[in-house]
């Protein structure tokens, strides 16, 4: 199968998706966009916006952190998902699934856009993974008769795509550090 992400000499990253992949990504990104806008109480909300302080005596600092950071974080997540959706052509999901292997999208991302894609896909994995109850031992390989099978397959597909993109970005960033150590 052709690679989804390819690094160009000028540092931009070329993205190639099949028509059915475009359809799937659009559905997932739209749902996650809604969840980001109004995160549910419970595990998914806590996973997207975790505590900064575990120490209960730091409750004032925790509240201050939430007040300062959460709004920006939500905006940043929204912008990344919106940009991801913006790059994808509108497709009719049924037609796209029929089209299967046909090319669906072919475009370039700047380095900054590639980072946004990375975090948007990761946010989608956090939402799906938490809702599916992914653990170290139960990592989403559900049996076909499990009600979580379809969403689990989608989660894995996102993981594969993200892994490809990380590989390309790790190549770009290189082995050396920029800190003083």
């Amino acid at each position: 199968m052709a690679r989804t992400f390819r690094r160009r000499r000028d540092g931009r990253i070329t993205v190639r998706l099949r028509a059915d992949e475009v359809a799937l990504l659009r559905i997932v990104a739209r749902d996650v966009l809604l969840i980001i806008a109004a995160p549910p109480e419970g595990d998914v909300g806590a996973r997207l916006y975790p505590r900064a302080y575990l120490d209960p005596t730091e409750e004032d600092a925790e509240n201050e952190f939430r007040a300062l950071v959460h709004h920006d974080l939500a905006e940043q997540r929204h912008a990344a998902l919106a940009m991801l959706l913006d790059k994808l052509p509108a497709v009719d999901p049924d037609a796209a699934i029929q089209a299967g292997d046909e090319a669906g999208a072919d475009f370039d991302l700047t380095a900054d856009e590639a980072l946004q894609w990375l975090t948007a896909v990761n946010d989608a994995r956090l939402v799906l993974g938490t809702a599916l109850g992914i653990t170290e031992d139960d990592d989403g390989d559900f049996a076909p008769d499990d009600p979580r099978y379809d969403l689990g397959t989608c989660y894995h597909w996102l993981t594969f795509r993200q892994t490809e993109l990380v590989e390309v970005l790790l190549d770009g960033i290189g082995e050396a550090g920029t800190d003083d150590d």
């Binding site: 975790p50 302080y53 575990l54 952190f65 974080l73």
Partner: protein, 104 residues
């Protein structure tokens, strides 16, 4: 100044450096950032985030990632409270489970 007298004005230092003098070399690193293991973020992704956020070399980023995975958590950085809060916010932006606390 109103109500001023001839007594010498007391100068209150504004910064720790002023108080201790520039020769003081005690590192101002009483806060640490801990990243906790989670079953969703992949190894390569976490390695990339450590390189990107802290500027660590690949080898150090990977060592810290493995520590998170196998020991459940790792102290990935230290510094002032403000710096740690800012970096924890960035790590949350990348979807990592990070907290800060006083080093003890």
């Amino acid at each position: 100044m109103p109500g001023g007298t001839d007594t010498e004005e007391i100068v209150v230092p504004d910064t720790v450096e002023e108080l201790l003098g520039e020769d003081d070399v005690r590192p101002d690193v009483p806060w640490i950032i801990i990243v906790w293991n989670d079953p969703i973020n992949t190894w390569d992704y976490v390695t990339f985030v450590f390189q990107k956020v802290f500027g660590y070399a690949r080898a150090k980023a990977r060592r810290l990632m493995l520590e998170v995975h196998y020991q459940g958590k790792s102290v990935v950085a230290s510094g002032t409270r403000e710096k740690c809060e800012a970096d924890v916010a960035r790590l949350h932006g990348y979807g990592l489970w990070a907290t800060l606390q006083k080093d003890r």
